[in-house]
């Protein structure tokens, strides 16, 4: 087989993948960028759509809410996942049972979890019944502008931590036992073992979890759509809900495209920053 025909054969095998990438990824992205640059009712390019969304209180609010949400939800989920993974990596009795219990919410569709939690968090729902039984004040949860975002964080974390835990747990089980034996001989206490062996060895799985979790949380949509539609008073109006509303409810595809471009740019920027932060001193990640 000549070199040229080998390349052709390779190309033929790659073609389905390349065509899919082009049709399903690159082409829609190009269309979105193109749409975002054409103001409604015009056929010349301009930045009007961006000017419109950046003076739109609804869009600006959703950017703010999304950033607040991410700053809280990402560290929280990763810390809990890490703690759970450490716990599940010890010799607890019935370990298989506990792992299953923690992972179980992953098997339930996000929308179903949202509906069930929505009922439980109703002002006359199960959670308040428990609070009252324990002698506490009932709370308003999703119906209060001060508690709704926290309630959403609770719901998505309940779904998410088990999932992210499995990646960290896999990473923990890859750490050679000999490293722990060595530092124990050197007199390291449990905190030092965690700080100087476990954490550095977990760099790879943690980087993956951090990046994937950030992206997943940027794109949270179903619980918002089902439970609050962005309210009360815009307090849970995460950016995907705003984009969806612009595109499919108020039929403003130009604003939706502009918002999508902004969203992708912000996600890319944050992910790049995260990769840099997680890089080791010698330049390898």
């Amino acid at each position: 087989m000549t070199k040229r025909s080998a390349i052709l054969a390779a190309l033929a095998f790659l073609m389905p993948a390349l065509v899919s990438v082009f049709l399903l990824r690159l082409w829609p992205a190009a269309v979105a960028v193109n749409t975002s640059l054409i103001p409604p009712g015009s056929d010349t390019y301009g930045l009007d759509n961006f000017r419109y969304i950046f003076t739109d209180p609804v869009f600006l609010n959703s950017l703010k809410v999304t950033l607040v949400f991410l700053v809280i939800v990402n560290p929280l989920q990763i810390a809990i996942s890490l703690a759970l993974a450490l716990l599940m990596n010890t010799a607890v009795p019935l370990i298989g049972f506990w792992r299953t219990v923690i992972l179980l919410p992953v098997a339930i569709p996000q929308s179903v979890s949202a509906v069930v939690w929505g009922v439980a968090l109703r002002p006359d729902g199960l959670v308040n019944a428990v609070l009252v039984a324990l002698g506490m004040e009932p709370q308003r949860f999703l119906t209060s502008p001060d508690q709704a975002l926290a309630s959403i964080i609770l719901i998505v974390s309940w779904i998410g931590v088990g999932y992210w835990m499995t990646f960290i747990l896999a990473g923990l089980q890859d750490i050679p036992k000999s490293l722990y034996e060595a530092v124990t001989i050197d007199g390291a206490n449990p905190w030092q073992r965690f700080r100087f062996v476990t954490l550095p060895q977990l760099r790879r799985p943690l980087t993956f979890v951090l990046v994937a979790n950030t992206v997943a949380n940027f794109l949270i949509f179903a619980p918002i759509q089902i439970l609050t539609a962005g309210g009360p008073e815009g307090s849970t109006d995460l950016i995907m809900n705003t984009v969806y509303t612009q595109a499919f409810i108020i039929s403003d595809p130009e604003s939706a495209a502009a918002s999508t471009v902004v969203l992708v740019a912000v996600v890319l920027l944050i992910v790049i920053l995260q990769f840099r932060m997680m890089r080791t001193e010698d330049g390898h990640d």
Binding site: R122, P123, D124, L142, T143, P232, E233, F248, I250, S251
Partner: protein, 427 residues
């Protein structure tokens, strides 16, 4: 139910089998015109109409394409808007007709005005399918709202049953007194709206208070929701929840259960709720006309689905035949509610619908009397605006905020500012 499912399944299998056979002998099959009907209804709702039509027109085959309600807008816009000819007939939600008609997505039906007006004599129903003085869809169904009450709860509280006579309807003031009494008597909630926070179900409160629909101007693109009547009525709505008379945090899907379980005494809901309530033999309920504000006028929600034609369709004759069969031919119209108890606008078919509904009168009061009266006399449609969907979306969120305790005046101020921007983009 089981038997029917199996029968549907068998029929499906038979059709599939026949289709396979037909594919093998396609060359000998006779020429058939195939048209596509796009709707947000389940297949069970549409199939009876299609079967009836195909029997009457053996040379035309109708294929139903069902999309979720929230996607119908997007589907109409992306497909008909791009000149797609693969949709011939479509279901159009009446408040969305101005937006679609103004963009040229719907065929102008003025040449059939005489026939349509003869079959559908109520002017409100014609207005619902019109934009800019022209008719753009065949009216098919309509809707109204009634007040359902739980007889047992009222009896236990020593209250009189509300009358089913529209002339002696309750005022909101009287109703709230009754609601408070049942709540003091141990019932969880006094009243609820079936579709909490939705403009469709709350517009009539503002109309009854004389505050207007919320949109004004020649093109109905100017918001008017901060006048005294709007603020007062919105505050009244918020108070229902602030005082615990009505439930916070409940979604529209959950309200029927509250009524069926006897957790709420009064329920404002559409006639279609009868199907669900009647399926619960333990529920002893009755119907009455919806209340009005003292000093105001009675008003009720209305509007539903209509049938429109894609102007790009290459089979206009067949499309027209199908659209007219399901809206103007009493037989087809009646079949259109075989799988879904909607109220009809076609005068002939309505008689048959009324006779069916009459059978319920002994048990729950004259629902058909209320429906007939309200659709003829008190119906106030949603504003005919190209910006209706934007308006509705922002209003629904505002009602939700008010229900959750946001001050009515500041919520409406915020909504008006947002509406001015968003509707300004449409202008």
């Amino acid at each position: 139910m089981h038997g029917m499912n199996r029968r549907t399944l068998m029929r499906g299998a038979f059709v599939a089998g026949t289709a396979l056979l037909a594919a093998g002998t396609a060359a000998t099959a006779q020429d058939k015109t195939t048209i596509n009907f796009l709707s947000a209804q389940r297949d069970e709702v549409i199939q009876p109409m299609i079967e009836g039509f195909e029997k009457a027109h053996p040379d035309i085959e109708v294929i139903h394409q069902s999309v979720p309600f929230n996607d119908l807008n997007a589907a109409t816009e992306s497909r008909i808007g791009q000149g797609d000819t693969s949709i011939d007939v479509l279901h159009a939600d009446t408040p969305r007709i101005p937006a679609f008609a103004s963009q040229g997505y719907l065929l102008n039906l003025d040449d059939r005005r005489d026939v349509i007006e003869a079959a559908v004599p109520n002017a409100v129903d014609i207005e619902q399918v019109s934009y800019d003085g022209s008719i753009y869809a065949y009216p098919q169904w309509t809707s109204t709202q009634m007040m359902y009450f739980n007889r047992k709860i009222l009896e236990d509280a020593g209250l009189e049953m509300p009358s089913d006579d529209p002339e002696s309807r309750l005022t909101w003031e009287e109703l709230l007194d009754m609601a408070r009494t049942v709540q003091e008597n141990g019932v969880k909630y006094g009243l609820t709206f079936q579709q909490v926070d939705r403009y469709y179900q709350l517009q009539f409160l503002f109309e009854s208070a004389g505050a207007g629909s919320g949109l004004t101007g020649d093109d109905m693109l100017t918001p008017d929701i901060t006048n005294e009547g709007w603020v007062k009525t919105a505050a009244w709505y918020g108070d229902l929840y602030e005082n615990g008379l009505a439930p916070r945090g409940v979604t529209p899907e959950q309200t029927d259960d509250l009524f069926i379980n006897g957790e709420v005494a009064f329920m404002i809901a559409g006639p279609w709720a009868i199907a669900r309530y009647d399926a619960n033999p333990d529920l002893d309920y009755g119907v009455a006309p919806v209340p009005y504000f003292e000093g105001g006028k009675p008003s009720t929600p209305t509007g539903s689905w209509s049938v429109a034609i894609n102007p790009n369709s290459e089979k206009l004759d067949a499309a027209r035949a199908f659209a007219e069969y399901v809206t103007l031919d009493p037989e087809g119209v009646y079949l259109s509610i075989a799988g879904n108890p909607n109220t009809l606008v076609n005068a002939e078919a309505y008689k048959k619908y009324a006779a069916d509904m009459e059978a319920l009168t002994d048990k729950i009061g004259s629902a058909i009397g209320i429906i007939s009266h309200e659709t003829q006399n008190t119906a106030a449609g949603r504003p005919r605006s190209r910006g209706f969907v934007t308006f509705e979306t922002i209003m629904n969120r505002t009602f939700s905020d008010i229900r959750n305790g946001t001050d009515a005046e500041s919520a409406l101020d915020g909504a008006e500012r947002q509406l001015k921007r968003a509707l300004g983009r449409i202008k």
